[in-house]
């Protein structure tokens, strides 16, 4: 009963290709995120969706386009892949933790290791 599941786990592709990563959560959470973890393990938030609505869009190239068909799914599509896109991409979900006294952490998927050659 995986709470946050991502597919695929590994993705190897060539520069210029377009690829998608899928994410699903079965926790009933309202908010979902995409984070990018680089080779030095720095985690950077990319996007956040709340109830299918885009809330946070960090300074991410517009080659990255998230899509949330419903609040349990948040997919990430990447156009024209570049070498610098190689990283591990983590999907996460949470309750609305901005609510006072909420102690809900972010729940992370297992990550998708993207390698662009």
């Amino acid at each position: 009963d995986t709470a946050v599941s991502q597919t695929p786990k590994y993705l190897v592709t060539q520069m210029g290709n377009d690829k998608s990563i899928k994410c699903e959560q079965n926790l009933g959470h309202d908010t979902m995120y995409w984070y990018k973890q680089d080779s030095k393990k720095f985690l950077k938030i990319m996007f956040s969706y709340n109830n299918k609505e885009l809330i946070i869009n960090e300074t991410v190239p517009n080659r990255f386009s998230p899509k949330s068909p419903d609040k349990a799914h948040l997919n990430l599509h990447i156009n024209s892949l570049e070498l610098g896109d190689s990283a591990v991409y983590f999907c996460a979900s949470s309750q609305e933790v901005w609510s006072t006294f909420s102690n809900s952490p972010l729940h992370f998927g297992n990550g998708t290791r993207l390698t662009v050659t």
Partner: protein, 113 residues
């Protein structure tokens, strides 16, 4: 812009010893998280600290939060090899109607027998 720093970034310690990892952040926040990540794995939530003076303990790990100093600590007691991992603190931005959780750079902990 919220910045989160951790100190040290790398820590090598002997089994049985105690040590503290520090997490500083730059703007007001009243919610701080600690996560653990094993190599090649996902992030596992360790603690959620909600208010000034909050202290939580789980096994050999104890986390505390001082919101006035904008400082959290993760104290390791009598380290064992199984604690070897990367530890991240993360801070939730305050005053917004949405969540923006910013992570520190991580502390890579290696416990040597």
């Amino acid at each position: 812009e919220l910045k989160v720093e951790q100190n040290p970034l790398f820590l090598s310690m002997q089994e049985g010893k105690n040590y503290t990892i520090y997490c500083n952040y730059s703007t007001t926040s009243d919610r701080l998280y600690w996560y653990r990540q094993d190599p090649g794995k996902s992030l596992e939530s360790l603690f959620v600290l909600l208010s000034n003076g909050a202290v939580k303990q789980e096994g050999r790990l104890m986390a505390s939060l001082d919101t006035k100093a904008r400082l959290s600590t993760l104290h390791i007691t009598a380290a064992v090899h199984d604690l070897s991992a990367t530890y991240f603190c993360a801070v939730d931005m305050v005053g917004t109607s949405y969540d923006k959780v910013i992570f520190g750079p991580g502390t890579s902990l290696s416990v040597i027998p």
